[in-house]
Amino acid sequence: MKIRLEHGAGGEVMEELLRDVILKNLTLKSAGGVGLDALDDGATIPFGDKHIVFTIDGHTVKPIFFPGGDIGRLAVSGTVNDLAVMGAKPIALANSMIIGEGFDGDDLVRILRSMDETAKEVPVPIVTGDTKVVEEGIGMFIITAGIGIAERPISDAGAQIGDVILVSGTIGDHGIALMSHREGISFETELKSDVAPVWEVVEAVAKAIGWENIHAMKDPTRGGLSNALNEMARKANVGILIREADVPVRPEVRAASEMLGISPFDVANEGKVVMSVAREFAEEALEAMRKTEKGRNAAIIGEVIGEYRGKVLMETGIGGKRFLEPPVGDPIPRVC
């Protein structure tokens, strides 16, 4: 086998790589809590009556500066969000930078300042790091690891039949903004990435309804909302039914995605969380989200059902229902 780009695209091909190659060749994969095999957003390590949550994320975004953010903000948000969706309050981050020879020093400063600002927003300290310079013109990669403390870790596999599904805001912003920026495709309005740490949103919901009533959580990054929901459905062996009209999408994102022929549900978000919460607390959870700045566009988008286990259905108004599949990468037309 040769590694192809699809192996990192977050779809079924990547899933295969993770299961058949990575998980198979490692032996010690758990420290007593959620381990590598769970392929969750992070690992948990029992610690007294609480749990340490540990996660790591590599960031290779091109371009390094993009509308709405940059690789620094992304690197901090990415790791903070992986902790947050495990139900963990971020405690500390580690920062490893791999910089290509010839990288502009001013840009490096800009990126570090952006990291700093984002970390202060959470707040979370960056307590350790590592810097390497390589020959290739890679620009810059940032790998961040983080630890957090969870009273009650929340996996992405805990959705229960009858739960309600919420998203903390508009979907598709990061992926569509990045693509149009990168490819120099201009729309009438400039699209912006949503890159941001979402701990604030998660914490607000937990305070309002209690950790025990958030049954599952996920940040819809690579593969977008489609991928996140499919993973939640598959891992919990439940069905998920969402209503297309209820999923918040910015009009400019919708327009851009329609023009490109790419669904906003299939592209990355970097400042959103998807939650499956107990039905009786759904309204409270929504209210709590909406009170936060990053959750003001939150919405209830669907529910967890007992039928179609492992699958995600989308109601499309008069068009009926269709399956929402995880994205496959290149377009494979099917309309005759």
């Binding site: 009926g320 494979i332 037309p333 005759c336």
Partner: protein, 772 residues
């Protein structure tokens, strides 16, 4: 004295076969019995003189009822048991899983029609009148054997009068399972769209409401129709608005043949098909000027017409002033036709003003079948009511399920050397349709007595729901699963229908997933028992945006032109020759620029050899159509437009090695745009495409020593292309085949899949042959 046990297979239940046997047994002084078996076959035991038995057997073949078909007869001598008479024995559950099948739904017969309008008849004006020679079958049968308790008629117990007819072997209604009358049978009721019942004669009132300009939902044989006065443009426009169908042609039903002839041309073959017991919708050529509203079939030179096939329809026209109704399946685009009363009120409340519903359940949904005569022969577009469940013979004996493709879908069950294609299922990208398919598969397996499966065959497309469903079923039942390439299956469907062993096949259609992951649809293929090979294809061209290029064919045009012109030239050509295509994009100018950018940078671009998209692109370039609202629309309208052209401008499509360079055709067309009439250009591009494919196929056939050329795929419904290919193939001394029974589009692909499944199981073709 001799005695025999005789087993008959074919179509021998639900067609008046037992009473017929009873009559001829009596006529020849034989004793014994006849009974239905649980596998849809019939068992006869006769005792009598040898010569009488011989005469009986002769009559069995020569005088059998009109709908009966004897495929196989087994006779075994047994010891005489001394019967005292000949009688009809109760049905038996037993049966060896033979090859018998229940008949399709049959249009009302002449005798019943006469009685329907005979005031002295007990069933005068009764819409559920039937006999053994007519009426619903497939749509009402739950299980075998075909007895009343296994049909939806079980809820209606017969009155004494009906029972006396049912039990009289000399009566036309002897053992006609749906027999009933106004006293004991189902009845119609008329409702407003909020469910209020309207008193009075429901059919008469419904007819009056239609005359007044209302839209009425009418429950019939295989589902619910939306009906309205087809002579009123405003009502048709309203129906379009309510059903979200701005362009899709509506089928119409005309009172009688004479009425049809007042607005359309009808050839003798078309007349025969129109009047056949199947009563399909036929796409007939419109008269010019066309006396009916244009918005029935906007932009097309054909109109889909059918004649009444149920007593209900005759009664409605009897009470109606207007001689033509729109009769379109009641559903929102992409969803299954509504068939149940409760569902009707829920789903159709916003569409229909009134509901004319009856209280007999429709068990198996069956849409009206649609055919078109192409190059003088029948091409089935949608194979459903009246056809289903009749089988197609294949030379492979196995039990299999072929799940078809995605749009216009049907599946097929293979059993005992035959494939039984299902009724029209529809667009399986919708969950509701997939559910319908799942139920229909279970029902087919039940009525065909197929418990064990040897193989499940699906398309190669990884994201079709049918592919996934097939995998699921295969896992569940632990059955071998096979995927086959789309166009191989199209070509195989022609081989199946005609029992061919090798062909050079031309598969022309919209979209099929190729063995190289690209989108195929303009293919020349060798297919034989020992090998499959893709011999030539349309040169790949980019489709910016993937599937949206199907809905906005300007994108396909841009993709094809981008192979020859750089981005500025391309922009200039579009702005110069079809600027209105840009406006027709959902986001106009901005979207046009985005699509240009996608082509330059390869963002979300698919690569295709589709013929459908080439025709779509030409439709845009010639300003015939810019948007697709229904499957095939741009290409269909281009054909209609081309029918106005007469001169062959002798365009050429160069062929280089394995690739057919259609982009060069576009270069020539651009050259001609200012010199020739657009209709002549449209005509000439059809001829040029057809000529190229025909010539390539002929050349390859010679090379391979093959005698037959097969044509399939949705483009084979195109008159100009099909006729041109046939003529060239025949002029070169080769035999030309398309399909006349199996649909040429994706509705028929299950038959080809089942055929390939047979080749695979018998070890002729390998998995790799079919997918790589």
């Amino acid at each position: 004295m001799r005695a025999y046990r005789i087993k008959v297979q074919g179509i021998v239940q639900a067609v008046g076969f037992r009473p017929f046997v009873y009559r001829i047994a009596h006529a020849h002084n034989l004793r014994g019995y006849v009974r239905n078996l649980g596998d849809a076959g019939v068992e006869i035991v006769v005792e009598g003189r040898e010569e009488d038995i011989e005469a009986f057997l002769r009559d069995l073949y020569t005088r059998k009822p009109p709908l009966a078909r004897i495929d196989r007869l087994e006779r075994k001598e047994i010891p005489p048991q001394g019967f005292d008479r000949f009688y009809i024995e109760k049905s038996s559950q037993e049966g060896e899983g033979g090859n018998s099948i229940i008949p399709p739904d049959i249009a009302i017969c002449e005798d019943c029609l006469r009685e329907l309008f005979d005031p002295a008849n007990k069933r005068y004006m009764y819409p559920f009148i039937v006999c053994t020679n007519c009426g619903p079958r497939f749509t009402i049968i739950e299980d075998l054997p075909y007895d009343r308790e296994n049909t939806t008629m079980k809820e209606f117990s017969m009155c004494d009068f009906c029972e006396s007819e049912y039990k009289d072997p000399l009566n036309r209604r002897y053992h006609a399972e749906p027999v009933c009358c106004p006293v004991c049978g189902p009845s119609y009721r008329l409702y407003t769209n909020d469910g209020q019942e309207i008193t009075g004669d429901p059919l008469k009132k419904a007819a009056k409401l239609i005359d007044k300009g209302y839209i009425v939902a009418i429950k019939g044989i295989g589902g619910i129709h939306l009906a309205c006065d087809a002579t009123r443009e405003d009502i048709v426009a309203e129906l379009r608005r309510r059903t979200f169908r701005p362009q899709k042609p509506f089928a119409i039903m005309a009172r009688d043949l004479e009425t049809v002839k007042s607005f359309a041309y009808v050839s003798p073959e078309e007349e025969e098909e129109l009047m056949s017991y199947r009563r399909p919708i036929i796409a007939l050529r419109k008269k010019d000027p066309f006396p009916l509203p244009d918005n029935l079939a906007p932009g097309l030179h054909t109109i889909g017409v059918m004649l009444p096939y149920a007593a209900t329809h005759y009664l409605l026209f009897h009470h109606s002033k207007t001689p033509v109704y729109v009769m379109t399946s009641a559903n929102y685009p992409g969803k299954p036709m509504v068939k149940d009363n409760e569902e009707a009120f829920k789903e159709l409340r916003e569409i229909a003003d009134y509901f004319l519903l009856h209280n007999r359940k429709i068990l198996n949904r069956a849409d009206d079948s649609v055919v078109r005569f192409v190059d003088g022969k029948r091409a089935v577009i949608r194979r459903s009511r009246g056809f289903v469940p009749l089988p197609i013979e294949i030379p492979f004996e196995y039990n299999g399920l072929a799940v078809g493709a995605e749009l216009m879908n049907a599946f097929g069950i293979a059993k005992g050397g035959k494939v039984y294609p299902s009724q029209y299922i529809g667009n399986t990208s919708k969950v509701e349709v997939l559910e319908f398919m799942r139920e229909a598969i279970a029902h087919f397996r039940r009525i065909l007595r197929v418990k064990e499966l040897d193989l499940i065959v699906a398309d190669l497309h990884p994201s079709y729901n049918t592919t996934k469903l097939a995998m699921e079923i295969a896992n569940e039942l632990n059955v071998e699963f096979l995927q086959v390439q789309h166009h191989y299956a199209h070509v195989a469907s022609v081989m199946a229908e005609h029992g061919l062993e090798e062909v050079v096949g031309i598969a022309l259609d919209g979209v099929g997933y190729g063995t190289d992951g690209k989108v195929w649809g303009g293919e020349v293929i060798y297919l034989g028992y020992e090998d499959v090979e893709r011999l030539a294809h349309i040169a790949y061209y980019p489709l910016p945006g993937g599937d949206i290029a199907s809905y906005y064919p300007l994108r396909a045009l841009m993709g094809i032109l981008s192979k020859v012109y750089d981005v500025e030239e391309l922009e200039g050509i579009i702005r110069g020759y079809c600027p209105r295509a840009i406006e027709s994009l959902k986001y106009g100018e901005t979207e046009f620029k985005v699509a240009l950018g996608q082509l330059v940078r390869g963002i979300n671009v698919a690569y295709a050899s589709s013929t459908g998209r080439v025709l779509d692109a030409l439709a845009v370039l010639l300003n015939v159509v810019y948007r697709r609202h229904y499957e095939g629309e741009p290409a269909m309208k281009l054909e209609s437009f081309a029918m106005k052209g007469k001169n062959d401008l002798k365009l050429e499509v160069p062929v280089e090695g394995k690739t057919i360079k259609v982009e060069e055709l576009f270069v020539d067309v651009l050259d001609l745009l200012e010199k020739a009439s657009p209709a002549d250009i449209a005509y000439s591009v059809h001829i040029a495409m057809a000529r190229t494919f025909a010539e390539v196929a002929v050349e390859k056939a010679r090379e391979f020593g093959v005698k037959a050329v097969a044509l399939s795929g949705g483009v084979a419904y195109n008159e100009l292309i099909t006729k041109t290919i046939r003529k060239i193939v025949e002029a070169n001394g080769l035999r030309f085949y398309s399909t006349y029974e199996v649909p040429r589009g994706d509705n028929g692909i299950n038959v080809g899949q089942a055929f390939l499944g047979g080749l695979y199981l018998e070890g002729y073709l390998s998995r790799d042959d079919l997918t790589m």
